[in-house]
């Protein structure tokens, strides 16, 4: 069962656009997979390694700006911009981790310092010429796959599907590898981890680099899909919270949590938005649902599947 799950998932993701081929459905699929990707990036640091960040938008924004600036200012093809963004996000992750963990920041202090970094990046992006300042950057429309601007949404769908599946593969690998076991040990008890020979500083820097790189890939995708970024979208608190939210709702520290959380939250978001014309009502309903989910399933929706398995056993 456990071995078939990833294959079934890949199959489902692959055939989805053939079953639901409306523009709305494809866009829905893209959103689910996009939030699953950036949620997974948060999950790897926050869920697997217990390094809770409130500022993952820093990596998202660096990814979005990195490929876009390379493209607009230096004429670099966004397909090459994507790996450059991943490298930039990884570097930023390692750097922020290096500074924060060297200073011994843990728990809520680490969360606050990441938030501060994201805000600092937002202000820098707001004031530099190369980032277009507060006006943001508009990518000229040149629809072609070679240009990472697909003529149809299906192209975007398969790119984000590949990235999201890759992020799940990374999570699956973490569950079975020494690196993942060490991250879990750090999350559960850092002193005990050190006593057992784990270089906790090094492992935490590594995981932040991995998480930052993954998140930056989502940033590049976002920029190419919407062809527009500005400091508030790229580095704003909203993105940080959304990543954290899909993971918490789905189940932090689990492989499929971010995907399940993203599916539910995107669904709820779309349904409540179309439910009523009244301004803000959809957000109230959205908020109430979050409260209910968190109240009944504090470990996330994944808990539902676990409970069923336990009952069967």
């Amino acid at each position: 069962m456990n071995r078939l799950l990833p294959l079934g998932l890949i199959l489902l993701v692959a055939v989805y656009p053939f079953i639901f081929d409306s523009n709305f459905a494809i866009n829905f699929g893209i959103l689910v997979l996009f939030f699953a990707l950036i949620g997974q990036s948060w999950n790897i640091a926050g869920g697997f390694a217990g390094q809770l960040s409130f500022g993952h938008a820093a990596f998202f924004g660096i990814g979005a700006y990195c490929s876009t600036i390379l493209q607009l200012r230096f004429g670099v093809n966004p397909w090459l911009g994507l790996p450059a963004s991943v490298a930039g996000g990884a570097l930023a992750g390692a750097l922020i981790a290096l500074l924060s963990f060297r200073a011994g920041l843990r728990g809520s202090y680490f969360a606050l310092i990441t938030l501060a970094f994201a805000e600092a990046f937002r202000i820098i992006a707001n004031s530099l010429a190369i980032t277009g300042g507060g006006v943001g950057l508009l990518i000229p429309m040149q629809r072609s796959a070679a240009n990472f601007q697909f003529p149809s949404r299906i192209g975007f769908y398969y790119v984000i599907a590949a990235l999201a599946v890759l992020s799940i593969a990374v999570a699956l690998w973490l569950k079975r590898s020494r690196f993942g076991a060490r991250l879990a040990a750090i999350r559960e008890n850092e002193d005990a981890a050190r006593a057992l020979g784990i270089d906790t500083f090094r492992e935490k820097v590594k995981v932040m680099a991995l998480s930052g790189g993954m998140c930056a890939a989502g940033g590049t995708f976002y920029a190419q899909y919407y062809l527009y970024i500005d400091p508030a979208v790229a580095f704003g608190v909203d993105k940080s919270v959304e990543m954290l939210l899909v993971t918490m709702i789905g189940g932090a520290g689990t492989v499929y949590g971010p995907l399940i959380g993203s599916l539910l939250l995107t669904l709820v978001g779309e349904v409540t938005r179309n439910l009523t014309e009244a301004q803000g009502l959809s957000l109230i309903i959205y908020g109430c649902l979050l409260v209910v989910i968190i109240g009944f399933l504090p470990n996330g929706l994944v808990e539902l599947f676990r409970m069923r398995r336990r009952r069967r056993a």
């Binding site: 079975r176 020494r178 076991a181 559960e188 002193d191 005990a192 050190r194 006593a195």
Partner: protein
């Protein structure tokens, strides 16, 4: 194997460990005893790199390891357990022990096999799939021991593994510790349970107010007037001697 010279650890104005020197011979079981607050755990922490000593040196197997971080000391073959058990609470017993086993192998299967072997050696074979948070006190103590052993240490520092156990659990754990030594791992333990110290340790160090006040064979140390006074108060040794004569 372990040589501590003049080790001092100061917290504010308090000399928690004051010029402590001791030696642990390879293949032996040594014990560190002393009244509550004497500085035993601090001494362990300073030896294993958790607290940087202010003065003095620690040598392990001939190499100077003073002030090295804990993970490097562990990699050289010296590992400690914690008095207040520190399980990876959400992980299973197997996963807990595997974290230790991964020190010597990157292979998941090898680490799992080693974890299972150690769990069985410590009588935890039935508990492998249990979550650590659900273990009893005795189970957690054994888990500390198992995780530490999984790193394949040459020297094991045990901080009160017997504390909080009932007499039958203590009786069950003693042969386990002796078995670990017989398998070639040197053991240095902090212990309050005198029954365990007396029957396990070959050499005992007594710490009081941060200083080593006596050392020797267990019987010899137990009869030392300074040790009796450290535990029972000034004049206690004399009163006991008087009572024996009367």
């Amino acid at each position: 194997m372990l040589e501590v010279r003049g080790l001092t650890k100061i917290f504010g104005g308090l000399r928690a460990v004051d010029r402590a020197s001791l030696e642990v011979a390879e293949g032996s079981i040594a014990a560190l005893i002393g009244p509550n607050g004497a500085g035993k755990t601090t001494l362990f922490a300073a030896i294993t790199g958790f607290d940087r000593p202010d003065e003095g040196s620690v040598r392990f197997c001939g190499a100077d390891i003073t002030g090295l971080p804990p993970h490097l000391i562990c990699r050289q073959g010296m590992v400690r357990t914690f008095q207040v058990t520190q399980p990876f609470a959400q992980l299973t017993v197997r996963e807990n022990i595997m974290v230790g086993a991964y020190l010597k192998t990157p292979e998941r299967d090898a680490a799992a096999a080693r974890a299972e072997a150690i769990a069985r050696q410590l009588g935890m074979g039935e508990l492998l799939d249990r979550t650590a948070s659900g273990l009893t006190v005795a189970g957690r103590k054994r888990l500390e021991l198992a995780r530490a052993l999984a790193t394949q240490p040459r020297l094991l520092l045990l901080d009160e593994v017997m504390a909080g156990l009932n007499p039958s659990e203590i009786d069950a754990l003693m042969p386990v510790i002796r078995g670990i030594r017989d398998a070639g791992v040197t053991v240095f333990l902090i212990e309050h349970v005198m029954q365990a110290v007396m029957s396990l340790a070959e050499h005992v160090y007594v710490l009081s107010y941060g200083r080593i006040i006596a050392d020797g064979a267990p019987q010899q140390v137990a009869a030392d007037p300074q040790v009796i006074e450290a535990y029972l108060g000034r004049g206690a040794a004399q009163r006991m001697a008087g009572a024996a004569h009367a």
